[in-house]
């Protein structure tokens, strides 16, 4: 049992006069502030920030870290999030002064190494995805989606077809797809999935038309299933004058095995923080580069990193058809460094083996769990699969309970209640970096929980039993929001 004492906020540790910083003495002649700033713009009351000693600070954040679960702590089969190992080497490399301590506005000749790295990463991501050109600017997957859709819009407008404003998404799509369409000024049309878990081809055929801007698709889809009819789907969309957008959240299944570009996709985003080991950092930073086919290249965000004939690198700002900027500067460079470090560590064979092992791990775990849980789509999966807790629901145990019970075993639960088309859904993605032993232990835990659902359901319903807090009252949190600490006024 973990210590269930409440953890103090750093503000509650604060005592006036304590510091944990060390700044040099001011070495220039001091000027009166009133002579530099107008009185009404000088801060009247200081921000009430904590005052703690350095050891207090270290203990506070160390204790907070102990109340958190990461991939380094244990298995994290969170579907669609690709919680693979984040190599320590990447962290070292990203912190080299020549990467971490360079300014984005330095003269180009003084940052040739950084530009070379970005250029090579652009090239290699293009090869990996089967695309012609890549922008590294988008800060995350959702930003990549927005970028890709804005390029698709610009493409249609350039052809006098600005009326194309419908984006088709399957009902299994990530929630970001329709949201990204909305912020790009496009409307969503949802197409159903068939009984095999794939896009219903006839429904797609009926959905396309003269207003189709694009089809957004994850392949393998969020059920972990490969859209086998992808070439036919591509033809349907292209013939209707639309383009195909590849949501790369699930790219970990196909590296070196199949490329979106060869499937007929015109735009691809990748989540470098998923497939290419950028750490998730508790929710970010990510990086969401976007690859495009030739026809969309003129619309890429600017600047693009380019190479001169003399071998030097530069930032190409002269792009009259560009959709503009989607982020300050050139993207989340530090994440690009980590991803490139991973690609160079793995090489072509390593990347392919990673995908193969991810798919092997997923299929093995799926088979082991199929005895106790409902497998809504009983066929080969790719890097992830979905289970349904409908059997357990009949016993009065919900998927949420199963997820909470997994916490007692030291596991992060799968993604739950997504995709929306599967009742009591659990979406499980083990990734390639987990051992067979870990998969077996997890399977045993899941099987034990299934037995508990039958024999002692209250153990599952009342879980977790071993965490620092029990289940939290989320309804009150939303109804009466407390979003910040309020100091007690003296």
């Amino acid at each position: 049992m973990h210590n269930r004492k409440e953890k103090a906020l750093i503000f509650e540790l604060s005592r006036p006069g304590r510091v944990s910083y060390s700044l040099p003495e001011l070495d220039v002649p001091e000027t009166d502030v009133a002579a530099m700033l107008p009185r009404h713009l000088i801060r009247e009351t200081p921000a009430r920030l904590p005052e703690v000693s350095e050891l207090q600070l270290v203990r506070h954040y160390t204790e907070l870290s102990r109340r958190n679960h990461g991939v380094d702590n244990g298995f994290y089969p969170l579907g669609s999030c690709t919680m693979k190992y984040n190599p320590k080497l990447n962290e070292d490399v990203a912190r080299y002064p020549g990467f971490a301590q360079i300014h984005p506005c330095q003269p180009e000749e003084s940052v040739q190494g950084a530009l070379e790295l970005m250029y090579n990463l652009q090239q290699e991501l293009a090869v990996i995805t089967g695309m012609d050109a890549v922008t590294l600017q988008p800060a995350a997957g959702a930003a990549g989606e927005f970028t890709g859709l804005m390029m698709i819009r610009a493409y249609h407008e350039s052809r006098g077809e600005g009326h194309r404003n419908k984006v088709i998404v399957p009902n299994s799509a990530h929630g970001t797809n329709p949201a990204s369409a909305a912020v790009a000024g496009l409307q969503t049309v949802t197409v159903p999935s068939d009984e095999r878990g794939l896009v219903d081809i006839e429904a797609l055929r009926a959905a396309v038309g003269p207003d189709t801007a694009a089809l957004m698709l994850t392949n393998p889809n969020t059920l972990g299933l490969f859209e086998e009819n992808i070439l036919e789907m591509a033809e349907i969309v292209h013939q209707a004058g639309g383009l195909l957008y590849y949501d790369g959240a699930n790219a970990n299944a196909i590296l070196g095995i199949a490329r979106p570009g060869d499937m007929g996709f015109d735009v691809v985003h990748l989540n470098l923080h998923k497939t290419f080991t950028g750490p998730h950092g508790g929710g970010g930073p990510g990086a969401g580069p976007v690859g495009v086919k030739k026809l969309l290249e003129p619309f890429l965000p600017k600047p693009v990193v380019a190479k001169r004939e003399d071998g030097s690198f530069y930032l190409d700002e002269e792009r009259p058809h560009s959709i503009g900027r989607v982020k300050g500067f050139f993207g989340n460079f530090g994440i690009l460094v980590r991803a490139y470090c991973y690609i160079r560590s793995m090489g072509p064979e390593g990347l392919k083996q990673a995908s193969e092992n991810a798919v092997l791990n997923a299929n093995y775990l799926m088979r082991r769990l199929a005895k106790a849980y409902t497998l809504p789509y009983d066929r080969v999966c790719k890097h992830e699969f979905v289970l349904s807790g409908v059997k357990q629901k009949k016993l009065g145990v919900r998927t949420l309970d199963i997820a909470k019970r997994l916490l007692d075993f030291g596991y992060h639960p799968p993604t739950i209640y997504f995709p929306l088309i599967v009742d009591e859904c659990m979406m499980i993605e083990p990734t390639e970096t987990e051992t067979k032993e870990t998969l077996d232990e997890f399977a045993e835990a899941m099987l034990q929980i299934a037995r508990e659902c039958e024999e002692t359901p209250e153990i599952v319903q009342e879980a977790p039993h071993s965490t620092v807090v029990k289940r939290l009252d989320e309804a009150t949190a939303a109804r009466k929001p407390v979003l910040r600490y309020q100091p007690q006024e003296a």
Binding site: T62, C105, G283, G334, P348, A354, E432, R484
Partner: protein, 450 residues
């Protein structure tokens, strides 16, 4: 070749394939049509060992002039500051950096509490009532604020000061095209701040928001007290993009009537890193709380009445609203928000004021040095830690010479403001010494007179 990130042995694979009743891994890919299968090996360079990776990347990194090889006076939205050693040690704890978004609060209390504390710090600095858990960067945070203001007011036009960071304006323009929001710019007066007469003329009943930067791109401090009534008289919101370090000494925008305050936490513990990852912040008045983009952490209680933290107000977010969403952000910059929170804890109440004061003092000293040497300084408005000097030679040429002298020179304002061609924007932070400032002035004088 053996891959250290791939644990499955041949024996493991055989056992797993036996369980699946198949003979080879290849069979797991039979559902991928032959026509789309990639044949052969991806034409990318072969794998490198750890030793070779270090050599390769160290080589690339050494081609970059950086803050450890050169003395830096570049700012323009990205600054070199003191980062306490504790920050990196805490960040590198795998429990933080290898965790996902805290969707399972019982095993994510550490991250959730750290973000709750971060939100509190953002509120304290900005003087606002609520803050979210972070945005991608200052530019996208501002863009989202503009979209939110348009959504909240139902008005489709936003007035942006030309003294707002050029890249922030460019990103906002891209977002605005997406959602059909019209942007109009107002110019800068001779003092270097937003022209209030022009602003007043531009704001009418159809304007959703007025956007200014504080201090602005030229380093000058906008008079928010004078701008606030211009926006509010017409029912427009006041959006302020603020450098959070400057708020150690400048009055909080919330106190001066701002409705939304955005910016980048980069000055607090986040390396320049060639422009990212940094950490956008987003704060607002409580009446706008349910319109805010991004993830928000709230305090609650567990079943035993113990204090705990959860992601809250999720009905606002993209995965619930889907096609009705006004923002699509999900991944944010949580790890950098943690870096900022640790730094703000380390600096604390006194350190933030002291550091802001040092920036102010050193930059003013630098400005005097340049003036004493006969340089013309572009603007007279009160400023924080950046100022523009006029050069008699092209800025790019001067910067090339400075680089040879081991100095990273200022930002070439002519890139974005044709009327300011030949002006360099210099940033002087607490890490610069008097001797370095003196040397910059000397070197620049020598270059211009050469």
């Amino acid at each position: 070749m053996k891959y250290r990130y791939l644990p499955q042995t041949d024996q493991d694979k055989r056992e797993m394939l036996d369980t699946l009743g198949i003979a080879s891994v290849e069979e797991l890919f039979n559902d991928i049509p032959e026509q789309v299968r990639f044949k052969g090996e991806l034409p990318i360079p072969p794998a490198l060992s750890e030793v070779e990776v270090v050599r390769h990347f160290a080589g690339l990194s050494r081609k970059n002039a950086n803050f450890s090889t050169h003395v830096n006076f570049l700012g323009a939205g990205v600054y070199e500051h003191y980062i306490p050693s504790t920050v990196n040690h805490m960040l590198l704890r795998g429990e933080f950096f290898t965790a996902y978004t805290p969707y399972q609060p019982e095993i994510s209390q550490g991250e959730l509490q750290a973000i709750f504390e971060f939100q509190t710090m953002v509120c304290e600095l900005t003087g606002m009532e609520v803050a979210n858990s972070s945005m991608y960067d200052g530019a996208t945070s501002l863009a989202e604020a503009v979209m939110m203001a348009a959504g909240h007011t139902g008005r489709k036009k936003v007035i942006v000061s030309r003294a707002v960071h050029p890249e922030y304006r460019a990103v906002t323009a891209t977002y605005a095209r997406g959602q059909g929001v019209e942007l109009a710019e107002v110019g800068v007066d001779a003092q270097g701040v937003t022209d209030l007469a022009m602003l007043k003329a531009a704001v009418d009943d159809g304007v959703a928001a007025v956007v200014v930067q504080y201090p602005n791109f030229f380093g000058c401090v906008e008079d928010l007290a004078a701008i606030e009534p211009i926006a509010h008289e017409k029912g427009a919101l006041l959006i302020v993009s603020a450098n959070p370090l400057a708020l150690g000494i400048l009055e909080a925008p919330g106190k001066l009537g701002a409705d939304i305050v955005t910016g980048d936490m980069q000055p607090f513990g986040i390396p320049a890193s060639f422009g990212g990852p940094h950490c956008g912040y987003f704060a607002a008045t409580s009446r706008l709380m349910r319109k805010m983009p991004g993830r928000i952490v709230g305090q609650t209680k567990d079943e035993d009445g113990r204090r705990g933290f959860v992601l809250t107000l999720q009905a606002r977010e993209q995965h619930i609203r889907r096609e009705k969403a006004t923002s699509n952000i999900c991944s944010n910059q949580a790890l950098l928000a943690l870096a900022a929170a640790i730094t703000l804890s380390a600096l604390g109440k006194q350190g933030v004021q002291e550091m802001a004061m040092m920036n102010l003092q050193k930059a003013h000293y630098a400005k005097r040095m340049f003036q004493e040497r006969g340089f013309q300084v572009a603007f007279d408005a009160p400023f924080f830690h950046e100022f523009a000097v006029k050069l008699s030679k092209p800025v790019a040429e001067v910067n090339r010479k400075l680089l040879e002298a081991g100095i990273i020179g200022g930002y070439d304002l002519g890139r974005d403001y044709p009327e300011l061609a030949g002006h360099a924007l210099l940033a002087v932070t607490e890490v610069r010494t008097k001797a370095e400032i003196d040397r910059l002035a000397e070197e620049m004088e020598a270059i211009l007179h050469a």
